[in-house]
């Protein structure tokens, strides 16, 4: 099976680590992602203060040694809320991207293998989904089920399905005309087996790269939905909700609007850099002109 793969996949594999270590945006992206993951995991077992703890006497304190990032209008510790918000953002993004990959990739693979009617239906279907901005989908879901983090996940997840289906289909279609796939067909392998053994391994790096980029977009989308009240609901802290609360207080407590926004920028920037880096590291043939 491995003989049938294009040679460059093998030749490139040995030096993946070397390329990764020499790639600045990959290194920055990985560091940011690792830091966020650590913060999210840490918030499961420890935060400086409980985010449910309301201390009215401590309300709207500027950053101090006791409260590194200050306190909000209810006297809750902002740093603790940012930590828990990290977990919330990453959680929503992981599931939304998983929905996109879990449904979109098989659809794209099947569409490339079968072509014909399935392909037409898939393409028209993805046009349809793209016609609904994720926010509009979220509004409709909220109209039915009421607001909540699950709505945000579903809305972002639905939007991700055609993204992955199209990327997978596009890459897989190109592979079906390649010699190693022809060889496998001549050898009598079924389309399903060729898809699993030859197509999927060759599109995997593209899916990983797209997954990272969609992950960054999902963090941005979740923050937006929480900001307008369609995502994570209080009292659970989320970056978007924190910004909404901070907005009316900018005149008296401007620092409250600063940190949640910086957290979002930091996370989105990190995963975007990671995606750019992965693209170059995993598949040098795709390397952009730089």
């Amino acid at each position: 099976m491995s003989e049938a793969r294009p040679r460059s996949a093998h030749a490139g594999r040995r030096s993946v680590f070397a390329r990764a270590l020499a790639h600045p945006s990959f290194l920055i992206g990985v560091s940011i992602a690792a830091l966020l993951l650590a913060a999210a995991l840490l918030s499961l077992v420890w935060t400086p203060y409980s985010v449910a703890e309301v201390v009215v006497s401590d309300r709207l304190q500027p950053p101090t040694l006791a409260h590194w990032l200050g306190t909000d209008a209810f006297g809750r510790d902002v740093f603790s809320m940012i930590l828990v918000g990290t977990r919330n953002s990453l959680g929503v993004a992981v599931i939304a991207v998983a929905i996109g990959i879990g449904i979109g990739v098989p659809l794209g693979l099947a569409s490339a293998a079968e072509g014909g009617l399935l392909d037409d239906v898939l393409m028209r279907g993805s046009d349809l989904v793209f016609a609904f901005p994720a926010l509009v989908t979220a509004v409709m879901i909220t109209a039915i089920f009421g607001p909540g983090a699950v709505n945000a996940i579903i809305a972002i997840g639905i939007f991700n399905i055609p993204v992955f289906a199209r990327v997978t289909r596009g890459a897989a279609r190109g592979l079906w005309s390649r010699e190693f796939v022809l060889a496998a067909r001549v050898a009598g392998k079924t389309p399903a087996r060729i898809t699993v053994e030859h197509i999927l391994p060759n599109v995997a790096s593209l899916i990983v790269v797209q997954g990272t980029i969609q992950f960054a977009l999902a963090i941005l989308a979740e923050a937006g939905l929480s900001y307008v009240g369609l995502g994570t609901q209080p009292p659970a802290p989320s970056w978007g909700k924190m910004l909404n609360d901070a907005q009316t207080l900018t005149a008296i407590a401007p620092w409250l609007a600063l940190t949640p926004g910086l957290a979002i920028v930091f996370a989105v920037l990190g995963f975007n850099l990671l995606g750019d880096g992965l693209r170059d590291v995993l598949d040098p043939r795709l390397e952009r002109r730089r």
Partner: protein, 316 residues
């Protein structure tokens, strides 16, 4: 060209029909009867029944769907359950805020992105490129609503140059109206500009590797006029496509930004309508938003085919 337009138009209509059915069906399963919601908890059953028949809610779903879609062709979107005014009037009124805002953001982002993207590609791998692309990388990561909050803090709260929110209304004159839309438009435009600048740069870099660029240079054109006369014009084709795809994001952005600046536009309307279970407004608004996205992409496809004849003949 005619077959191309017909095929695309067929796709457009099919998408709209399916989308309208989906929207109608999804909101159909919504719990809660608008008539009882409008009349409150103390309403008599026969009053509710009377209102239900007045609103046409006692008709079967298929009949209501057809009369709803049919109404679109004559500009009749029904009567809002809560505002008691024609939905078309309500939407037209709010669109007078949202459309100018979206248009201002679009113009602003294009005006920022195209020169910067061109500059970055022309100074490829030198300091203009590196600094512009670093800003773009950052700009892509900045949520527009956070940027809006920062703008309010700087220009409205601290400097007091522009209003922090609300809309003066077009009756108040162009000055106050544009002043209330300035910060929202900037907040919307900058993240969009970052994306567009990256697209412009990579499209131009792709073009600059073409043979005809080398020919142009060989026949003695300066680098500047080569980029302008042969590069930029060809690079605009992919930029146009992305601009079309970005339209859906622009709409979503407008909805969010209107909430940051308390603008009485379509975005605020859709949230109010959801909160008040004003189904007919939600339905019509969602259909209109979807229709505008699909139509813009259709127009982009046409423009694309007009600029690049290869596409008309299905060679992709």
């Amino acid at each position: 060209m005619l077959t191309f337009v017909a095929r695309k138009l067929g796709g457009l209509i099919a998408t709209l029909v399916v989308a309208s059915v989906v929207i109608f069906a999804v909101l159909e399963v919504l719990p809660g009867d608008p008539a009882s919601l409008m009349l409150g908890v103390n309403a008599q059953p026969d009053t509710i029944a009377a209102l239900r028949s007045e609103l046409g809610l006692d008709q079967p779903a298929a009949a209501r769907y057809l009369s709803w879609v049919g109404g679109f062709f004559v500009g009749d979107f029904g009567i809002s359950y809560t505002y008691r005014v024609p939905v078309a009037e309500l939407i037209a009124d709010r669109a007078m805020v949202s459309l100018p805002l979206a248009l201002m953001a679009l113009i602003l982002s294009t005006a920022i992105a195209l020169p910067l993207g061109t500059l970055a590609a022309a100074g490829h791998n030198r300091w203009p490129d590196v600094s512009i692309m670093s800003f773009a990388q950052l700009g892509v990561a900045v949520p527009n609503f956070w940027f809006g909050i920062l703008l309010v803090y700087l220009f409205a709260v601290t400097l007091r140059w522009l209003p922090a929110g609300g809309f003066a209304g077009w009756d108040a004159g162009l000055g106050p109206a544009f002043a209330s839309l300035a910060l929202p438009a900037i907040a919307l435009a900058l993240p969009q500009a970052a994306i567009l600048a990256r697209v412009m740069r990579s499209a131009l870099l792709d073009v600059l590797h073409e043979d005809y660029i080398r020919t142009a240079r060989a026949k003695g054109l300066t680098a500047g006029s080569t980029i302008w006369r042969h590069g930029v014009r060809n690079a605009l084709i992919p930029v146009l496509t992305i601009l079309g795809l970005q339209f859906a994001f622009l709409i979503a952005g407008t909805i969010i930004i209107e909430n940051v600046f308390y603008l009485p536009g379509l975005g605020r309307l859709i949230f109010q309508a959801v909160a008040q279970r004003d189904l007919i407004v939600v339905q019509s608004l969602v259909v209109l938003l979807v229709a505008s996205v699909v139509t813009v992409n259709f127009l982009v496809d046409l423009a694309y085919a007009w600029v690049d004849p290869r596409l008309r003949h299905g060679r992709r």
